[in-house]
Structure formats: structure tokens, C-alpha cells
Subunit: 661 residues, 2 copies
């Protein structure tokens, strides 16, 4: 059918002689925003607040968007309508670049900063059309431990307060729709158990109208189709059909739908609900996750259209019935309402970098229990907007073992896009840690080993970089190493990394100073990326989708460098069950620590001789992946004794946010 | 000081000879949107979706707003910056009209519809500048029981989907900031109890910088001021001061800060948190309220500036210490972050009516445990924008016993504004119910008594109307009765109401058909309101603020028609405690049923010989009122067996919301 559509498009195009080359949008020439580099480099928030912002309508116009494709939220941010995809359906895509990293220290190695800096270099210094596509961060941690997600130094997406707080409300929409479903699950159990009489239950679900007639709700009709019930009206249902249609008979022990909140609230990790006297003893142990762990967030990131999103919401499985039937949001009748709540969130959010290049900030699913990528729709729109001579720079969460693997095998699989280049961010600091350097702890000063030249330590850590290069090359895509440099790094250290990277098959390895210098500091990286994206590529997935579940998991384990996989009985049973249920043609989303190739965060560098233990495996049917749990993943952070919200306040004179970072 | 400021303003004005009359904004002439009235009247959503929308920028321009005072959220809604108040500081206010109602049936008597219809009449049919100021509804109930809050029929604020769902995210901002504070409370208790050593606690709160120095956080400095501690650095604190400053020593039994969610989730009414193994047994019984019950919402509605809002957030009391000290958001160090999260929410939301007149939709606190009024800021801005020849129509929640009383004694007390007219909405239906008609139940057909002429029943119910008229007149404000008419009402019935109302001292009593006819159907009401607002008024509050707490409660009880007040021991103790704590100069916000003048919802009409029982009394120190509990108030609704979300979905072709109402 896709092929038939293509033929049709070709035929249509042939009919219109002038339409061979799609008309380019008459966008005004891009004008970079000039940076005034201050020394020493001020704090992120000071740089961001001192920045000159273009009106977002101008950013959009320069990017080739039409005014009616823009939904402005004030003058600094806007949503972009999906209609642009229809308008540019026949436009050629730009080059697609994924920024990933070596296995990081707990401080992070500057992946977002490099993503933004590289964009600034391409757009503001190398005359290329460019788009940055990154994730929207969770708001909760912003008030916990300091650290923004908008980049840093002179490579940031602005305004950073908007970026890190409400933005345009997408995460709030997810919180609301996720919790609506949670309330619907508990209310449904309450009402079904409160009304043991099937006739009376029918009466409640399909009450008589004034004329005595009864009608099905839309969700009843969907469920009837699933169950093969053909009754024309509720009165035509047989006794058995009534019970099947109206009683979901939810097995409380199987509910896998927690509630969510975008706040670090550790006391909600495990709770008991239903203790009010009106709930008549229907208590239940459950818990909260942070909102970005919601399946609705993963769907937002993976969906390719409104229709696709509606369909994915409908098939989200929240539990099984007591007889083992998987129960979905459509069975509950809540997927339509969720779609309505999410109808604006599906539009990517347009912002800008410090040098005035356009950026999409859209979706931010967890990178362990979910796939950790910004939205497919933002990338698709951006690739059309920049056109064949342009560049879309996106970032995948965590190190390349997790983030890049999921970018390739999950995101690209659903989008149909393939990258033209992988940028692998490395730091001297992280490589020294892999070489055996002392523990790196957030908030504590770095050991001398990291701030003085130490070629031996660095050399010892290079295998981590090399395995990541090898892994990326395995996808058939050119690799460029970006050395995110610090003032304490020496020339000899940078050269050592460069030589090793080239020897391992990287197209190039380039020192970058975008944190201090903005796009000027990644000009060389930009040039290397331009070159690399023009190399031939031979993209291939790590595993075929139709392989057995275990084969797919084992392919990924091998990719990590593991000797094999150990399944706990729960995981074995689930794999058996998922295989029977037909959940086979789905990609695998490993929930593993990002601090090691292995399952043990303390096993640094490029370990061998280890095995990957699979504790359990879960299905995210709406998102469309299975996620094996390699160890226990925390889905609700906490607040420290001295949380960063202590410093956050509004300057009542200037109206500016103080102390956010 | 206010007087000194006035003098200064007068002096400044005198210096500039041309500035005596403030320059009027050069707004374009208002163009009403023409209604096409369809018969029979379609559903609310069909009317709303068929409506022609003016671009919100045009609505703003017509209303006299400058482009830089507008923060557009797409083309249909916008926020209005508070800077407009500074620009129009010397402009004269328009006429201020409060729409209230007789004691309603459970179906409601069309107060919002009348508010909107009256605005449409004044603006689109009588050539007056007008602004509608109403509450933003809670989103949760939208998915529970059908029934919007944007008005109805041909008197609506549009787009109604935006109005009833996310709007511009104000309620989401409240949810987030309220829950941040809840998490902060529990995390603080956790860390204080987890660290019994005061030295180590100081270390966590004021860690040493690289140079060995320690600094206080802003919240420490605020708390030191409160406690009278004068240490210059953390190292200067005495042992006793350390304990007092860093240990809030929260008494868990006194915590009066639930979590909130804008979803009908009955299972969260009572829950136990902290059951995760990492919480080490620190479980606690607590619960969730629906978001609009949050004190943060009440503050949003009552605040008069950003400074005032910051200050109110800071003084919100969430518990007392084990030694009885009231503990505030500022003690917790979270009020600044809450202010940052609420900095956009403070700007009123601009929308439009079906006939193109401007409307502010801003804040929507509960009408029982809070004061149930839209925001002061929206009213203040609107009154300046319409100018001395214009009209601002606002609505107060529930019947006049609750809503109007709180409008006068709480909202007007904090705003400094006083109304020029009260519009009292009455229906034949409700008056017949008060006269002894059969029970009125939502979702069930009305009894014949309501649909056939029945003058005796109506006559018997008139005392309810008359007591409300008398009560409104007691404030020294002219009263106009709006009879919201139904097709089944007869001429004789309307006349009976009219004569009784006039005899009771109403300026006029007018039949209205705005639901079917839009502003054309309230033209006569508009004319009566114009006349009434030009009558002399002699505004007075129901009670002086400095009266003892019990005197104020008793004044309100008398206003209801009660013989007196009975206090339960808990209430007695609290009144004693609040009096000692100095919470005396605060208005009273009665949490009473709206279905009767009395505390018993079944006691209809204008009962006498009853007493008001006060179960408990609570303090909302940030909002600035005390709220006695007259019976138990539900602050978390539930979902029915067949919730209205069953019908809600997105039309994937048109992109329109289906089945919302």
C-alpha cells in the first residue's frame, strides 16, 4: 500500500509539469544572533537571561514555516501544526545526525550541549540550514538537584526557564491523561464489584432514553468488535454477552498502570489507595512514577500522526482480566478522552538556540524503561524544513549502548528514517574514569587525576570509546567523535583520543569548546559532520523484528559485549506469555543502567566476561516495544535535604526567575 | 500609606497639565459577531464549534489592550500582562455588576449563561463597552458528569473545548506547585528524622564551599528573621539556634496540606504514603483533593499583584511544629519556587463570547471551602479597560447566600472594589421546587409540576427569592432580578415573579431568553442593569473585620435567616487558638451547602427557626480567610459507572473534539 501511494504520488506529480521540483518556501535569509562571549563564562541562567531572543515568528519564518502552521505561545515559543508535513510531503529530507556519547560519569559528558553547539556551528558559522531536535526535560528534578537540560554555557536552547518548566504544557497534558486512566481503572473496578447484577450494570452503562431505547457508547462498539459480539442494541445482548461486554473483570494483581506526577515525591513510590470510608474497604497497593515514565510519553515520542496516536492510546494494556484477557484503554473507554487531552501536545514545540537557529523541543520519555528519544514528528518536520542541503541534529538519551541502540532499533524502525552520521561525545574526564580514575561524585570537587595531565589513565580508558565507535559503525553509519573539552585538558590528551578514534574507524575526532565559545567552538566538528554525512552509508538494524524475543535480547547483549543472558523465572514466564499473545514483532527496549556496558554500574570501561541478567520483562503495547528489566530501575526520584528549590524565586522587580541553575 | 500614594499621584498629575483626563486607548470600534440562531437550539458544543471566532488579537485590540500587553496562546486565547494596570492606573473604573442566583436546584439555574448573555446584550445590542469575568472550571468533572461551565446555548464563552480543558495551563501550574510543596513537606520530615545530629543537618543544609565557607539559603534568612536569629554565617549559630533554624519539627498529625489532582479520583480521598522500603517505615495517612480546592487557587483569585502573591504564598500554613509553631511555605523554602511556577498563571486569560465581546476566564476556587470567585486582577483590569461608561459583568459561585456574601465580604474587601448592581438569577423551576415541588434530580425528566403552569406552587416558593433580594439590598446595592425563562414558563408565572420582586425592592425583574436567543434575549435585562447601576448606592459590609471571630460567624448566620450558631468542641478550641494566634482580622468563608439557606440541603425556600452547626474551623492564612465547616464538604468527586469520557473523542478528519457535552 505504501508503494501504491508512492506510485500515485509520482503519477500526480507527472501530471503537473512545473511540480517536479517542489516549490521551496520563500523564507527570509537566516540571520544568526551574535554572541557576546563573557569571561569567565557566567552561569547558564545568566547567559540565557542576557541573550537576545528573536521573535519566535521570525525563527519560524526563517525555518520555512508558514504563519498558519504556527501556534504561538507568547513571543518566545510556539507549537508547529502537523499540516506542514502534508505541505512538504514531496520535499527531500536533510541530513540526519544522532548525537550520542561514551559511557558517562554521573556528571554527564555534555551531549545536549554538543547537540546545541554543533547546530549553532552549522547554522551560524557554516551557512547551513539546521534544526536541533531535543527532548523536553521532566520538571520535577529541576527542583531537586541542580542541572538544566537546555544545554549549557554558550550552547543553550532559550529561554531556559521555559524549557525547564511548563513549556507549552505537554507534560501536564500527559499527567492529566495518565491519571484520568488511573482513576478510570479504579472507578471501573469499584462499580463492577459494587453492582453484582448484570442487568443493573447494563442499566447503568446504557440507560434508557426518554423514548425507552438504549444505545451503546463508542467504547462498547469497539469492545464488541474485539469480542465478536454483533448485537444491534443493548437489548439484543445475550446474558453471556452482557457479562463479557460490561464486566472487564480486572485482576487487581495484574494492574501495571501507576499514577504519575511531575514532581520528585519519594513518599509516593508505594502507597495504599481507597482507604476512605466510601470506598468500602476496596484498598489497593499501588504507586506513583514521575510523569515522563508514562507510556503516554513514549507514545508521544514514537507517534507519526494523530490517527496513529489515537490508535496507540487505544491499545495501551493496563492489566489483564481474571481470565487472562489483556485489557486496553479502549476497553476502558478512555482512549478518546486521552487523545483529546493530548491533541495539542502532539505538535512539536519550536524554540531557538543562543545563536538564533531553530530548535524543536518535543517529548522526553525515560531512557531506561522507555526509549529515551525526542519525538519522531519533530525530526520528520525538521528534515523536510531544512531540505536536502540542511542538517537535523538530534540527541539520544544516555550513552551509545542504550541511547543510540534505541535510536536505531526503535525510533528509526518506527519513523522509517536512518541517520547519516553518528556524533559520539567523549571527554577526557570520563575516559580517565574508565581507565581506573577515582570515583566521580556530583557536588564534590574532581580529583587531581582528572585535572592534571595523565596520559596513562586516559590510555587505559580508551577501550570504552573504541567499543562505542565499533558499535556505531556496526549500523553502517559514519562516526565522528566530538571531544567535549575542558580547560584542564592538555593537547597531548586530546591527541591521544583523536589518534585512537581514527584508528578505530571514526571519520574524524575533533576538539570542541562550544560550552565556552558557542558555535565558533564546534566549527571544526561541524565541518567533520558535513563531510561524514556525505560518505556512503549502509544502514542495517541490529536484529530483525521477526526474530524470537530471546534472540533479540541476546543480540543486544552481545552488542554490549556480554557473554550471554540469564533469565529469572518471571522473565521466562513472561516471554512465554508474550510469545503466545503474539507480542513478537516488537523491538526490545532494554532497561539497563547507563553507567556501564554491563548491568553493574561499577563495571567501567569495556568489560568482557559478564552476563546480562533479565529480572522481568514488560510490554508497552501502545508504544510498541517490550522492555526487559536489567536490575531495578527507579521511576520516582526524591528530594535531597537541601533541594535546589531553596534557591528558586522570582525577582519581583525584573520579573526574572532567580536561582534556577 | 495608601493615602500618601494618592497624594503623590495627585501632585504628579497636577504637574502635567494635559494629563488631567487620561488619554483613552485608540481602540478600533467594536464589531459584534453576528449570531445565526438555529431552531431547535443545537447542543452547546455544536453551537460553539459552528461559531465564528475573532482572532484574539482583534478582541484584545477592540478591548483597548496594546499588543505588548498580550501573550497569545494560539489565535483563540491569550494572557494579559499586569503591566496594563500600570498604564491605566489613572483611568476611571466602569460599572461593576455581580451576577448571583436564588437557591438553585441541583441542575443550576443558569448563572453563567446569564452572565454571558447579559454581556452579549450590553456589548452587541446596546452599544456599551463590556467585559465578562468568570471562573475557569475544574477539568476533572468534565470527564465525570456532563455539563460545561462556559455558559450554554447562544450565550457561551468560546472555544468551549479550550475553556473546559487545559486553557492556558493555570490549573496545571497549581497542581504542580501544590504537589511540590506536598513533596517538600514529606521530604523535610524524612530528612530531619533521618539525621538526628544537628551538626550533620547543618552540613547538609549549608554545605562548605570550596573555600571552606558556608552560606545561608534565602529561606534560612527569612526564617532567621522570624525567629529573631542574627548570625551572619551558619558557623556563627549557637547550638540552640541551629536546632530552631534547621529543624521545623513538623507534627505529622497537624499537616493540613493534602496533595491535589485535577481528576475525579475517589480512591485518592484517603491513602497511606511512604510504604516503599526506602522510606523506612515512615508511612502517613493523607489524601488528595481536586486541584481547585488548593489554597494556591484561592490565592490566585484573591491576589492583587505579583508581590502580593509571593507574600501570600510565603505565609501559607501547612502544619504546626510539635511545640505549636505554625509552619509556613516560607519556612519550608518552597514559596519562591511556587511563585516561579505561578508567574504566568497570574495573568488573566482573554477569550470571547459567541457575539464577540471580550471575556476574562481566570481562577476558579471552590465555592464552599474557598470563596468561589473569579480573580480580582481580571476584574480590576476589565474595569479599567471598559472605562467609566462601560460594564464589567462577573459571577459569584453558588446561590446568593454563599456566593454573593463571599463576593462582598471577601473579594470586595481585598480588591477595594464595590459593585454597582446585583443581578439575581431566578427560574420558575427553582421557585416551584422551593414552593414544595417534587425532587429535581439530574439526568431524570422533570415532573409535570415544573412544565405545566402552577401559580400556587410558584407563589409558595417566592419567599426564597424575596430573602435573597432583601439580603442583596442589605449591602446597599441595587438589585435586578433576571428570570431565566424556559419554553414551558407561562406569562402569568413570569408576571407573578416580577410583581413580587418589585414589591420586595428590586429595581426591576426581567424575563430573559439568552439561552435560545443570545444577547437579543437579554436586551431588556441589559437596559434594566444600565438603569440600576446609575442609581445611588450606599455600600456596606455585612460585618466589620475587627469583630471577634464568633461575631462574624453569627452575622453571616443571621444573614442566612438562622436563629443562631452551635459550635462543636473542635470549633470552639480552634476559635480560641486562632484568636490567640492573632488570626482575627480575617473575613469568614462559610463552607456550607448551596442547596439551602440552612445547613440542611433538604430545607428549601426561606426557612426559619434553624441553627447553623459549626463542626470545625480552619485557617487559610495565605488566602486570608477562616473557613468554618458547616457539615462535611467533599473535596474530591468520583466517576460514575458510565462517565462522560465514554463519549469524548477526537474527530480525526476535522480535528474537532466530539462528545464533550
Amino acid at each position: 500500500m505504501a508503494s501504491a501511494q508512492k506510485k500515485l504520488a509520482v503519477r500526480k506529480a507527472a501530471r503537473r509539469p512545473a511540480a517536479k521540483k517542489p516549490a521551496k518556501p520563500a523564507a527570509p535569509a537566516f540571520q544568526p544572533t551574535k554572541l557576546k562571549l563573557v569571561r569567565p563564562v557566567p552561569s547558564d541562567i545568566d547567559i540565557a537571561q542576557a541573550a537576545k531572543l528573536k521573535p519566535i515568528a521570525l525563527v519560524a519564518e526563517e525555518a520555512g514555516l508558514k504563519p498558519n502552521e504556527l501556534v504561538s505561545y507568547g513571543t518566545d515559543k510556539a507549537k508547529v501544526r502537523l499540516t506542514v508535513l502534508k505541505r512538504l510531503a514531496r520535499a527531500k529530507n536533510g541530513k540526519y545526525v544522532d548525537v550520542t556519547a561514551i559511557t558517562p560519569t554521573p556528571l554527564g559528558e555534555g551531549k545536549t550541549t554538543t547537540t546545541v553547539g554543533l547546530s549553532q556551528a552549522l547554522g551560524a558559522h557554516l551557512g547551513k540550514k539546521v534544526f536541533t531536535c531535543i527532548r523536553q526535560p521532566s520538571m520535577g528534578p529541576t527542583f531537586g538537584i541542580k542541572g538544566g537540560a537546555a544545554g549549557g554555557g554558550y550552547s543553550q536552547v532559550i529561554p531556559m526557564e521555559e524549557f525547564n518548566l511548563h513549556l507549552t504544557g505537554d507534560i501536564h497534558a500527559i499527567t492529566a491523561s495518565h491519571n484520568l486512566m488511573a482513576a478510570a481503572i479504579d472507578a471501573r473496578m469499584f462499580h463492577e464489584t459494587d453492582q453484582p447484577d448484570d442487568e443493573k450494570l447494563l442499566n447503568a452503562f446504557c440507560p434508557k432514553a426518554k423514548d425507552g431505547s438504549r444505545r451503546f457508547a463508542e467504547c462498547h462498539i469497539r469492545r464488541m468488535k474485539k469480542l465478536g459480539i454483533t448485537a444491534a442494541t443493548p437489548d439484543d445482548l445475550t446474558t453471556d454477552e452482557k457479562r463479557k461486554l460490561f464486566r472487564l473483570d480486572i485482576d487487581p494483581a495484574t494492574i501495571q498502570w501507576n499514577r504519575v506526577v511531575d514532581i520528585n515525591d519519594r513518599m509516593l513510590r508505594q502507597i495504599t489507595v481507597g482507604q476512605g470510608p466510601e470506598e468500602k474497604g476496596r484498598t489497593r497497593t499501588t504507586g506513583y512514577d514521575i510523569t515522563v515514565a508514562s507510556e503516554i510519553m513514549a507514545i508521544l515520542a514514537l507517534t507519526t500522526s494523530l490517527e496513529d496516536m489515537r490508535e496507540r492510546f487505544g491499545r495501551m494494556v493496563f492489566a489483564t482480566s481474571k481470565s487472562g484477557e489483556p485489557l486496553t484503554a479502549d476497553d476502558l473507554g478512555v482512549a478518546g478522552a486521552i487523545t483529546v487531552l493530548m491533541k495539542d501536545a502532539i505538535m512539536p514545540n519550536l524554540m531557538q538556540t543562543l545563536e538564533g537557529t531553530p530548535a524543536f523541543v518535543h517529548a522526553g520519555p525515560f531512557a531506561n524503561i522507555a526509549h529515551g528519544q525526542s519525538s519522531i514528528l519533530a525530526d520528520q518536520i525538521a528534515l523536510k524544513l531544512v531540505g536536502p542541503d540542511g542538517y537535523v541534529i538530534t540527541e539520544s538519551g544516555f550513552g551509545a549502548d542504550i541511547g543510540m541502540e534505541k535510536f536505531m532499533d526503535i525510533k528509526c524502525r518506527y519513523s522509517g528514517l536512518t541517520p547519516d552520521c553518528v556524533v559520539l561525545v567523549a571527554t577526557v574526564r570520563a575516559l580517565k574514569m574508565h581507565g581506573g580514575g577515582p570515583k566521580v561524585t556530583p557536588g564534590k570537587p574532581l580529583d587531581k587525576a582528572y585535572t592534571d595531565e595523565n596520559l596513562d589513565l586516559l590510555q587505559a580508558g580508551l577501550p570504552n570509546l573504541l567499543r562505542h565507535i565499533q558499535n556505531a559503525r556496526g549500523y553502517g553509519v559514519p562516526v565522528v567523535v566530538a571531544v567535549n573539552s575542558f580547560s584542564t585538558d592538555t593537547e597531548a590528551e586530546i591527541n591521544l583520543i583523536r589518534e585512537a578514534a581514527l584508528a578505530a574507524g571514526a571519520e574524524d575526532a575533533v576538539k570542541c569548546s562550544h560550552w565556552a565559545d558557542g558555535g565558533k567552538g564546534t566549527k571544526a566538528l561541524g565541518e567533520a559532520v558535513i563531510k561524514a554525512t556525505h560518505k556512503p552509508k549502509d544502514f542495517k538494524f541490529l536484529y530483525p523484528l521477526d526474530a524470537p524475543i530471546k534472540d533479540k535480547i541476546e543480540a543486544i547483549a552481545k552488542f554490549y559485549g556480554a557473554d550471554g543472558v540469564d533469565y529469572e523465572p518471571e522473565a521466562e514466564a513472561k516471554i512465554e506469555r508474550f510469545t503466545q499473545a503474539g507480542y513478537t514483532n516488537l523491538p526490545i527496549c532494554m532497561a539497563k543502567t547507563h553507567l556501564s556496558f554491563s548491568a553493574d554500574p561499577n563495571l567501567k570501561n569495556a568489560p568482557t566476561g559478564f552476563r546480562i541478567p533479565i529480572r522481568d520483562i514488560r510490554a508497552s503495547i501502545g508504544s510498541g516495544f517490550l522492555y526487559p528489566l536489567v536490575g531495578s530501575m527507579r521511576t520516582m526520584p526524591g528530594l535531597s535535604t537541601r533541594p535546589s528549590f531553596f534557591d528558586v524565586d522570582l525577582d519581583l522587580v525584573s520579573g526574572k526567575v532567580k536561582g534556577l541553575f
